[in-house]
């Protein structure tokens, strides 16, 4: 058994690839050494980006990359990113993306994969957990205040 990437039968590899690309609305960008977008494709509009930012600087066409280009590592993966502000059109919500950056010579490829469903599930759980934690803190504070009042009543100042 080697530690290299598994040699999958081509049918499985092809199925896995289409599974990812079909179900997660892949979109991509290529940023050259000067910081300009040289390739763009996929459903960029889903993530709130211009459909064809080719030729623009990444600061203009994909401003979420500010600070990340040039890439300081061979690759970088960032989870659950809303890379552009939500639109006012409720029929066109901005998707949450898992963002992967990969160095390729002097250029950087950027891959966006839709993670909206997973993020929404986590958001629902996290929301509930955080609200419970806030309520617990509020109750603890109330108990501390009451204990202080009881202490003051039992130990009146002369």
């Amino acid at each position: 058994m080697s530690n290299d990437a598994p040699h999958l039968p081509s049918q499985i590899a092809s199925f896995a690839q289409s599974l990812t690309l079909d179900s997660r609305a892949a979109a991509h960008l290529r940023i050259d050494a000067s910081g300009r977008i040289t390739h763009a494709g996929g459903d960029l509009a889903r993530y709130g980006l211009a459909e064809n930012p080719t030729g623009q600087t990444h600061e203009d066409g994909a401003p979420f990359l500010v600070g990340l280009i040039p890439l300081s590592a061979r690759s970088l993966s960032l989870r659950w990113m809303q890379v552009a502000p939500a639109t006012t059109d409720p029929a066109r919500p901005v998707a949450i993306a898992d963002v992967h950056l990969m160095q390729d010579g002097d250029a950087v490829w950027v891959l966006l994969l839709d993670a909206t469903d997973a993020a929404a599930q986590l958001q629902a759980m996290q929301q509930k957990g955080n609200q419970l934690a806030l309520e617990r803190d509020r109750l603890a504070k109330r108990i501390r205040d009451l204990e202080a009042q009881i202490f003051a009543i039992k130990n009146p100042q002369p």
Binding site: V66, L78, Q82, V83, L134
Partner: protein, 169 residues
């Protein structure tokens, strides 16, 4: 006039008001409804700084809690960081120090311009964060703002100072 873009991260414990501060600064609005941020929501706003246009790319990051830790990879390439504390919950002051220390360790090339904001000044009668706590923050050479996303107090000043700091003005 030149255009400059800088990445600035909002960090802190959960429910301290990071998203509300960004919303107040970018959209000049406020909502009392608490909505947990998952991952990162990026917004931007351009502010004039000494004749230049400085675009702040604001990374509004999920708050840290008992179950979800800050994803320090998100700090890569950030020029600035705003650490947000809820004045009414002292635990968020301790969380802020812990988060800052962890970022310093895990992201050595992380943001060098740091500002602390103690939010919820509109509830100042309920504050648990003390003047001694504020001195502790200032001892780290962080400018400290008391502000309120609800009233807007201190918000513009915070981001404008950050715009100056990340451009070395």
């Amino acid at each position: 006039m030149s255009a400059i873009s800088k990445k600035v991260c909002m960090v802190g414990a959960f429910a301290v008001g990071k998203s509300s501060l960004v919303q107040r600064f970018v959209l000049a609005t406020f909502s009392d409804k608490y909505i947990t941020t998952i991952g990162v929501a990026i917004k931007k706003k351009t502010v004039p700084v000494e004749g230049d246009e400085v675009t702040l790319m604001l990374w509004d990051m999920a708050g840290e809690d008992e179950f979800a830790f800050l994803q320090t990879a998100n700090l890569r390439g950030a020029a600035g960081m705003i650490i947000v504390i809820d004045g009414t919950r002292r635990s968020t002051f301790e969380a802020a120090l812990h988060i800052a220390d962890r970022i310093k360790t895990e992201v050595p090339t992380g943001p060098t311009s740091i500002i602390a904001v103690i939010n919820k000044l509109d509830l100042s009668a309920q504050w648990e964060v003390t003047e001694d706590d504020i001195k502790t923050l200032e001892a780290r050479a962080w400018p400290v703002f008391k502000g309120s996303a609800k009233s807007g107090q201190g918000v513009q000043e915070t981001f404008e100072l950050m715009a100056r700091k990340v451009t070395g003005r």
